[in-house]
């Protein structure tokens, strides 16, 4: 039988917990966690109104409304949201999740502030009515079902002004915003919805509706310049800002010694070989898991222990 003393103790604890909850500031009670840090390298911090000082971010850190993520030099991370939309955040960047609501049956609504640095956004689940709006110091980007790269700050200014279409304009290196749509485009694999971005500044909106199309807002109060097709060089520089570790791996000449020919390319080359040439089907290429797994076997070389080795080493 339950003792009266234990019951009283339990009630006391419950009462204390209740009063504790009531005494907690409203903002703390309403922390709305909407995603996690799926990968992180380098120095990354998270701050919000409820923290006395920023905390170091580790993988699987929960991310909530109002959280400000800040990365240092040579650092980057990826945030996964509940609908599997995600942010790839490059070095020396600041991004805040202002509001995110997701209902698997209704769709997703996202508002975020991108204050500085490099940011890549991939849309998640297609189901429902999805919207995303990202505000920068110079403008606003509305996103529908897409992959998009964005830069804010001096790198945005440098890259944009090297583009012939933009040239030399009066930019603010804290506010300059460069937006590049990456896809999906109209020729994407069947079943993939083409993406679209609306870039707005000073009340003027430019629509990006094809991969490689870009827009540049030089400062707050200026209209976007574009759309223009970004150069290969410009696109490579954008990529380097978003994925600094990947970019540095090429600069270092850091190809590992155990590099393997053939097998490395096998899996996706299978897609290529297995899905092209279906002339009667005008619905576009499709992905066939069987062709993925089966492709490229002819290129596989192994040593006596079954380890993959360069085929050039086989006599």
């Amino acid at each position: 039988m339950r003792s009266p003393r234990r019951t009283i103790t339990s009630l006391t604890i419950a009462s204390l917990l209740a009063s504790s909850v009531l005494a907690t500031p409203a903002a703390a009670q309403q922390r709305v966690e909407v995603g996690n840090v799926a990968s992180v390298v380098g120095d990354v911090t998270l701050d919000n109104d409820q923290l006395r000082r920023p905390i170091e971010v580790e993988r699987q850190q929960r991310v909530a409304w109002g959280d400000l993520i800040e990365t240092e030099r040579n650092s980057q991370l990826q945030i996964l949201l509940l609908d599997r939309s995600n942010f790839g955040i490059g070095a020396r960047s600041r991004v805040r999740i202002d509001r995110y609501v997701y209902d698997p049956n209704e769709g997703r609504s996202l508002f975020a502030s991108f204050l500085e640095g490099a940011l890549r956004f991939f849309s998640g689940a297609d189901e429902g009515d999805n919207s995303a709006e990202i505000t920068t110091p110079a403008g606003r980007i509305g996103i529908r079902g897409t992959a998009i790269d964005m830069l804010v700050g001096d790198e945005a200014e440098d890259i944009a002004e090297d583009e012939d279409f933009v040239g030399s304009v009066r930019s603010d290196d804290d506010e300059a915003t460069l937006v590049v749509l990456r896809g999906p485009g109209a020729n994407a694999l069947s079943g993939v919805t083409p993406g679209l971005a609306e870039v707005t500044g000073a009340g003027v909106t430019i629509v990006l509706d094809g991969p490689g199309l870009a827009a540049y807002i030089p400062r707050e109060g200026a209209a976007p310049i574009g759309p223009f097709r970004i150069s290969n060089g410009g696109l490579a520089r954008v990529q380097d800002q978003i994925s600094p570790r990947w970019a540095r791996s090429f600069e270092d000449g850091g190809i590992p010694d155990e590099v393997v020919a053939g097998v490395a390319a096998a899996a996706v080359i299978g897609i290529i070989l297995g899905t092209r040439g279906g002339g009667d089907d005008d619905s576009g290429p499709t992905v066939d898991a069987g062709s993925i797994l089966g492709g490229g076997d002819n290129d596989r070389c192994e040593d006596a222990n079954g380890r993959p080795i360069p085929c050039s080493q086989i006599d």
Partner: protein, 125 residues
């Protein structure tokens, strides 16, 4: 590190059995994140997503792999190829051009570039 096709198949099967198809909880996201702390399972996860047509999800997965394993030849190649499949031929060709021909089967990169150009309209410059 490169994967043998057999190990890739096994990894995909393991992934398919454990990973949520449509993440709706933070724990589901943790599971997705766990897949990419290892190069092999991360790439397998991306291939599985590709096979379901979740190309943006696969790209995101490979980008997590490349964050930890930026020199992964297979992840680099697959990332470029996926850009092609979402019709970002320009981005794909920029990435293919950074890869070292010696790291792949003879002619593989050139074949991939040609395929990418033929798949997408007006790709590259």
């Amino acid at each position: 590190m490169a994967l043998s096709p057999v190990r890739t198949v096994i990894s995909i099967l393991v992934f398919a059995a454990s990973a949520p198809l449509a993440a709706q909880t933070l724990e589901d996201l943790d599971t997705l994140s766990d897949q990419t702390v290892d190069e092999e399972t991360g790439i397998a996860a991306a291939l599985e997503q590709t096979s379901r047509g979740d190309l943006l999800g696969a790209l995101a997965t490979l980008e997590r792999v490349l964050t930890l394993f930026p020199e992964s030849d297979e992840a680099r190649f697959n990332h470029a190829m996926l850009l092609c499949w979402i019709d970002d031929a320009q981005g794909a060709l920029v990435e293919f051009d950074r890869l070292d021909e010696d790291d792949y089967a003879p002619g593989a990169l050139e074949q991939s570039r040609e395929t990418c150009r033929s798949v997408t309209a007006g790709g590259g410059q």
